[in-house]
């Protein structure tokens, strides 16, 4: 009860710790999605009961037309997005309050003691600081838009209330992840979002492939979670706590570059690799596209998959103390960025392109946090949330339209295959425009959001290579070049996707194309809002070097490095460690030239690639899937088949484990161990059988043996 009271009051002691910052019901931000989940979950179960009765009767539940649907189906429309909107508003109030305050120390609001064994204590407590605030804004803000979009997208789905229940539960766990005041609580959110991801990927669970995809995501994520757990154990063993505040307070007692801090950070990064779909554990994310498209937007683009970046940014001081780990983070990041980008070049499924694009962009974020530019990583996380959510929802609008077209004509073509699209701009102008904005943003074209965030990451990679005592300067130079190359690939495959989807002739089919239509307002309004954010979202963090130059329109863009300064209390410790050990960043890229020059080069190059891509892809004749007979050869085939990584994993990991499992069961368990046990039984039985031969059942034999025995005993006693 006490904790409930504290929850509503927003935590009394917070004010004294946080100076001027007065939290405004932060507990409600977490609680509301949970309540939404419970309400929607109950409705979903009631709804499912009705549907189950119909199924048992041999039919399907008839949803009827929109007006006459049962409350179990209509109420979630208000509950789902409603709780999100309120949560967003509360977050907004907190955000504005934090803007006004100069918060140096995080505000920790304690609710109850979660686990206390006597030597280990962890509280159920929320931590409010600049980093968690940014994350909360992204999660509740973009989350609300996606919830609203879902109302339109999922309207006709029989599992509508269940969908919103899962979605709300996801937001709850995601908020626990970013607001938890300890690694343990973060882990609760960490696995919780994994669960929701599992449930939502396998949302259409009657389809075996989709259920499989959910399972794969969960299991692959759990591989990463082991790393997270081990890192926590190491932290506990050395700090006696897994709370952020004490751990970071004592962090600098660790030896710079020492084995321990390297181990801790590498294990944490294993967790991040799993959750954020980096090499070699990225394989679950493309399959995760089996879920409903808004889910891909929310979970597999904007929020959950960025949790790994949040983890590294949160542990910035630990990573700053471990240059080797940082190099690994950046290396994995840049390799993933490039690798996924190449796969995206040859994909035909619109969502698969976006999925690989997400993997690739997440790689960029890891490059950012791996070169010590934690603010830049978070910045890209934020802008990516805007434009990638927009791209996914845009693709959702396209798929929705395509699906209805095929549904109306009883055609069983794939509504997600871009070869079946083309020329959609005529049918869906708003989607077309907003998606182009997002594409330009992700391609890094000035002045869209992605330009500022991506450029900063690439720049820091180059600048790190030139730092005074840079640990691996040659390596970072390579990273920088690869990052630039991946940026060009991004521009290419995104433009290819746009051209194949929206431009050229329509390939949907003559009859079908009559049913293509623009998305309803409930779907395109969120798109428009995100489009605005994709344009202006980058302006909050214009680099100083660019602000007065061309990129800042000679100082017109006012918020110079705002995010950088905002996150200063979080990253200060890490930057201090870096400055002590590495010295200043270089002001020049590896081959000369300052930030402004390279920013200009990269945006011009990206623009050229976009133009080239329009020419190349637009010049090709694309044919609809049913007419497509092209046999891919050589490297294109390898790319189309995603480098055969899934097949490779299946052969070297999955199959051996399954075979070993069977071996353990059939040979070791049933054969050797149980065989030995049964052998003991058989030996006893056999002995009994042999002995029982003496028992003939004839009285005479017994009498004879008896007499012989008596004579024997008598004889023995006499002689």
């Amino acid at each position: 009860m006490a904790s409930l009271a504290a929850l509503v009051q927003g935590g009394g002691q917070a004010a004294t710790e946080g100076g001027h910052f007065e939290p405004f019901f932060p507990g409600l931000v977490v609680l509301l999605p949970l309540l939404g989940f419970l309400a929607n979950g109950y409705l979903a179960l009631q709804h499912a009961r009705a549907s189950a009765d119909a199924v048992r009767g041999g039919s399907e539940l008839d949803l009827g037309d929109a007006a006459s649907r049962p409350a179990t189906h209509t109420l979630p429309t208000w509950i789902g997005p409603g709780v999100m909107a309120v949560a967003f508003l509360i977050t907004l109030v907190n955000f504005t309050r934090m803007l006004g305050a100069h918060l140096e120390e995080p505000v920790v609001i304690h609710y109850w003691t979660w686990i206390a064994t006597g030597t280990f204590t962890v509280d159920a407590a929320l931590q409010l600081d600049q980093l968690s605030m940014i994350m909360m804004m992204v999660i509740t803000g973009v989350g609300t838009l996606i919830h609203v979009f879902s109302v339109g997208y999922m309207k006709e789905d029989p599992g509508y209330p269940r969908y919103f229940a899962y979605l709300n539960l996801f937001v709850f766990f995601m908020l626990v992840l970013v607001m938890g005041s300890s690694y343990a609580l973060m882990f609760v959110g960490w696995e919780g979002v994994g669960l929701c991801s599992y449930l939502l990927i396998g949302y259409w669970f009657s389809d075996r492939e989709k259920a499989d995809a959910g399972k794969k995501a969960f299991i692959v994520n759990r591989i990463g979670d082991v790393g997270f757990l081990i890192a926590m154990f190491l932290l506990f063993k050395n700090f006696g706590s897994v709370d952020f505040v004490p751990v970071f307070h004592d962090a600098e007692t660790l030896v710079y570059g020492g084995g321990l801090v390297t181990a801790i950070t590498l294990f944490f990064f294993v967790g991040a690799i799993g959750k954020s779909a980096q090499m070699p554990l990225y394989v679950w994310l493309p399959d995760a596209m089996a879920g409903p498209t808004p889910v891909s937007a929310l979970i597999h683009a904007a929020t959950m998959v960025t949790a790994g970046v949040y983890l590294v940014a949160r542990s910035s001081v630990l990573f700053a103390l471990a240059p080797l780990s940082s190099a690994v983070v950046a290396g994995i990041g840049v390799l993933t960025a490039l690798f996924a980008a190449t796969i995206a070049l040859k994909q035909n499924d619109i969502k698969k392109v976006l999925a690989y694009s997400t993997v690739s962009q997440l790689g960029y974020m890891f490059v950012g946090v791996g070169v010590g530019a934690y603010a830049a990583g978070v910045f890209h996380l934020m802008t990516h949330a805007f434009f990638k959510a927009l791209l996914f929802m845009g693709s959702g609008a396209v798929i929705h339209s395509m699906h209805e077209a095929y549904h109306a004509t009883h055609n069983h073509e794939d509504p997600q295959d871009m070869r079946n699209m083309g020329g959609l701009k005529a049918f869906m102008p708003i989607t077309w425009v907003t998606m182009w904005i997002a594409t330009l943003a992700i391609a890094g074209i000035w002045p869209f959001a992605g330009f500022f965030s991506k450029d900063e990451i690439i720049w820091y990679a180059g600048a790190w290579a030139g730092a005074e005592n840079a640990p691996y300067p040659g390596l970072y130079t390579v990273y920088w070049i690869l990052a630039l190359a991946a940026a060009m690939l991004t521009a290419f495959y995104m433009t290819r996707m746009m051209v194949m989807t929206f431009h050229g002739a329509n390939r949907t089919g003559d009859e079908e194309s009559k049913h293509l239509h623009e998305a309803p307002a409930v779907m395109w309004v969120p798109l428009a809002i995100l489009a605005v954010l994709s344009i202006f979202g980058g302006w909050i963090n214009v680099p100083e070097a660019l602000q007065s130059g061309w990129a800042g329109l000679g100082g017109v863009l006012p918020m110079s490095e705002w995010l950088h300064h905002w996150l200063e209390p979080i990253t200060a410790q890490a930057h201090h460690v870096q400055e002590v050990n590495l010295g200043q960043y270089s002001y020049y890229a590896p081959f000369g030239g300052g930030e402004a020059m390279w920013a200009a080069i990269s945006t011009v190059a990206a623009a050229i690639v976009v133009a080239l891509s329009i020419r190349i892809v637009g010049g090709r004749t694309v044919v609809a899937v049913k007419d497509d007979t092209t046999e891919l050869t050589g490297f294109a085939k390898v790319l189309y088949n995603k480098y055969y990584v899934d097949e490779l994993y299946d052969r070297i990991i999955v199959q051996p484990i399954v075979r070993a499992s069977r071996f353990c069961w059939k040979v070791i368990d049933a054969g050797i161990i149980d065989g030995a046990v049964n052998a003991v039984g058989w030996v006893s039985k056999g002995t009994g059988w042999v002995v029982s031969m003496f028992q003939t059942g004839t009285v005479n034999t017994y009498a004879f043996i008896l007499t012989v025995g008596v004579l024997f005993v008598l004889g023995a006693s006499l002689f």
């Binding site: 028992q695 059942g697 004839t698 009285v699 005479n700 009498a703 004879f704 007499t707």
Partner: protein, 97 residues
């Protein structure tokens, strides 16, 4: 005196034992067992002349037990005969398991 009695007792006992071992008729085996018991009785009585009255008391016990045994044993043999129509012990091995 005592020696003759004991020799007679021993002869009777051996005859009884021999009878139990070689005869197949249940009734005869039964009679042979009685013969053994009575051989023992004889030695008891003989010894009681030397050591006192206890030997004769034992004889009464043995006779009582023998009577009870005869009753139960004959009843079993009769019911076996009713069932199998033979009292040849080779034809039944019911004591197995």
């Amino acid at each position: 005196m005592i020696t003759e009695a004991l020799v007679l007792s021993a002869i009777l006992f051996v005859i009884g034992t021999f009878g139990v071992l070689v005869r197949r008729n249940a009734i005869i085996m039964f009679l042979c067992i009685e013969l053994q018991l009575n051989a023992v009785n004889l030695s008891f009585v003989a010894f009681s002349r030397m050591f006192g009255i206890e030997g004769q008391i034992f004889v009464f016990f043995v006779m009582t037990v023998a009577a009870a045994e005869a009753a139960v044993g004959l009843a079993i043999i009769i019911s076996i005969f009713r069932h199998y129509e033979t009292v040849n012990v080779d034809s039944f091995n019911l004591l197995k398991w």
